[in-house]
């Protein structure tokens, strides 16, 4: 049993023994029924294609809050949504199960399973009612390997006259899966289609936030470390071999002595702000930069968005621009892998050529930009409709797109049309 779980059970037991059992329970829930369709036959964001889908955005969540007294409370949240490790399954999952202790006004300690801090909306990422976009910009919100973790977070707040400055640190871990899309089957080695690699991710980070009235500013440093749960290792970079003059390819054979490691440390710096301008206009912007020092894959990237939205009665129209781009070296490697082939007379030429494409799929590359225009409409105080048109340009390539076999998705445009009903209760 992990240390965190022992702490949670010990704390719950001590609260139960020390508290007169006048617990205040409160049920709540949230959900989204979302339909989205693209103008392309291949999938983007796991599920979206020109046949349309409800899978990308639809979900249902239930939350139970138990307030023991002013200082102690507990929260459990469950959710039904597409599985993290299977594109064809919907599974219930426990999103939150944490104990909260607030010894004074300024300190908040939470132990258990909760959500990653650091992004402006990482904690409420699944509650569509709480934001106006059809979905939070994937260019930023895909940069965290997972938003869930089981561990501890500690927050200290300093009250200013009209605002609060808070510093939060968190440390924990989660079991999740890294998803790749493989274009071509290599018999005996890899199958085409979605590939889920189970990983255990340890997350630690520090977040500094300043909130004044309705304006929020945040900067955070987050360091997830990922270990594969399937016994495999992370390859830092492929090795270029020259079997004979004028012919080269990237080798992944064990005897090539690939640089690899059991744990991959990702450093992520995040900056964000959501501020009110004049005339009811709000500006929101987030920027995330990821780097893996030892590796040359496309995870070394930066992404961000800038949005403007304006509430006018029940309507809140918005416009945003988002981008996600891997470092030039990663994009160069991706191009090289996709373009490398050896002549047929080279021994094992078909296997070598197929491995180059597979490597391009596994080393990741991101080069996309999105313009999105949409609006939310408040139906009632507990429900809203959202409508959005998003236009994404794929440059060199993007691992957020499932390229069909024997093809590359580059220099292409994908239009997404989204309509969703978001509610709370």
């Amino acid at each position: 049993m992990r240390l965190y779980s022992r702490c949670v059970w010990a704390a719950l037991l001590s609260v139960g023994l020390n508290t007169a059992l006048a617990v205040d329970y409160s049920w709540s829930g949230y959900g989204t029924i979302g339909y989205v369709r693209s103008d392309q036959p291949y999938n983007t964001q796991r599920f979206i294609n020109n046949r349309g889908t409800l899978a990308r955005d639809s979900l249902l969540g239930l939350q139970l809050d138990a307030k023991f007294n002013s200082h102690w409370s507990a929260t459990v949240q469950g959710q039904m949504s597409p599985a993290d490790d299977d594109d064809n399954l919907w599974t219930p999952k426990l999103s939150w199960a944490f104990l909260s202790w607030r010894p004074t006004n300024d300190w908040l300690i939470r132990v258990g399973k909760s959500r990653l801090l650091g992004y402006l909306n990482s904690e409420n990422i699944d509650v569509g009612w709480t934001f106006d976009y059809a979905r939070l910009p994937i260019e930023v919100y895909s940069t965290a390997p997972s938003v869930d973790f089981t561990g501890i977070s500690i927050s200290k707040t300093w009250e200013q006259w009209e605002g609060d400055l808070s510093l939060e640190v968190f440390w924990g871990s989660t079991d999740t899966a890294a998803r790749y899309s493989v274009r071509n089957t290599i018999p005996g080695y890899i199958d085409s289609g979605p590939l889920f690699i189970p990983i255990q991710m340890e997350a630690k980070g520090i977040v500094l936030s300043y909130q004044r009235l309705d304006n929020l500013y945040r900067i955070s440093f987050y360091r997830p470390s990922a270990e594969r749960n399937d016994g495999g290792e992370w390859v830092d970079r492929p090795v270029l071999v020259n079997p004979m003059p004028g012919i080269s390819y990237y080798s992944f054979l064990p005897e090539t002595q690939l640089p690899q490691r059991s744990r991959q440390d990702i450093s992520t710096i995040f900056v964000g702000a959501d501020i009110g301008l004049s005339h009811n206009i709000r500006l929101a912007t987030e920027y995330a930069k990821r780097s893996v020092k030892e590796a040359s894959g496309g995870v070394n990237s930066s992404g961000g968005y800038v949005s403007l939205r304006r509430q006018t009665g029940r309507w809140t129209p918005y416009l945003y621009y988002a981008w996600l781009r891997s470092e030039d070296a990663a994009l160069d490697l991706n191009r090289a892998l996709n373009q490398t082939s050896v002549p047929a007379w080279i021994p094992n030429a078909p296997l070598i050529n197929a491995s180059q494409h597979a490597a391009a799929d596994l080393f990741l590359a991101y080069d996309q930009q999105t313009w999105a225009l949409g609006a939310s409409y408040v139906l009632t105080s507990k429900s809203k409709l959202k409508l959005e048109w998003a236009r994404t340009y794929i440059g060199v390539g993007s691992n957020l797109v499932d390229a069909p076999p024997d093809s590359e998705i580059s220099d292409q445009v994908i239009n997404l049309f989204s309509l969703s009903y978001n509610f709370i209760f």
Partner: protein, 138 residues
């Protein structure tokens, strides 16, 4: 004629003043609590603080739709009902608390703050009685 006009004006003025007083709200609390300023009351009702001078505080709201609740939200929190609901919805779904309980009537609020250590609520000014601990008059 002039005297009657003046009398009518005075009568109308006194009605306006008494109506205004009836709509004013006062913040009341348990006898153990000190006077509070507007910023502290705002922070208590938005969950940003949970205690006053080291004493745990429990705040309660008037029922949704009541005049005193609308006035309190507008005067102290600068929010309307929908904005207040939205604020607490976000706070709930980022795991940072649940909104204060709603009381069905002023009597319930008064009984709560009298009996609950750290209890804080608000009522109409014309429901004030001498034994109540008035923490703030906006």
């Amino acid at each position: 004629m002039d005297n009657r006009l003046i009398l009518l004006a005075l009568l109308l003025f006194s009605c306006a003043v008494s109506q205004s007083s009836a709509e004013n709200i006062i913040v009341i609390g348990n006898p153990t609590l000190p006077k509070l300023d507007r910023v502290t009351v705002e922070k208590l009702f938005t969950g940003r603080i949970i205690e006053v001078n080291g004493q745990p505080a429990t705040v309660v709201n008037a029922a949704p739709g009541t005049l005193e609740r609308k006035q309190f939200l507008a005067t102290i929190l600068a929010k309307d009902e929908d904005q207040y609901l939205a604020y607490w919805t976000v706070r709930r779904f980022i795991g940072k608390g649940t909104p204060p309980k709603d009381c069905a009537s002023s009597r319930e609020i008064i009984e709560f703050v009298k009996s609950q250590p750290g209890g804080i609520g608000y009522i109409r000014a014309n429901e004030r009685t001498p034994e109540l601990n008035v923490l703030m008059e906006p």
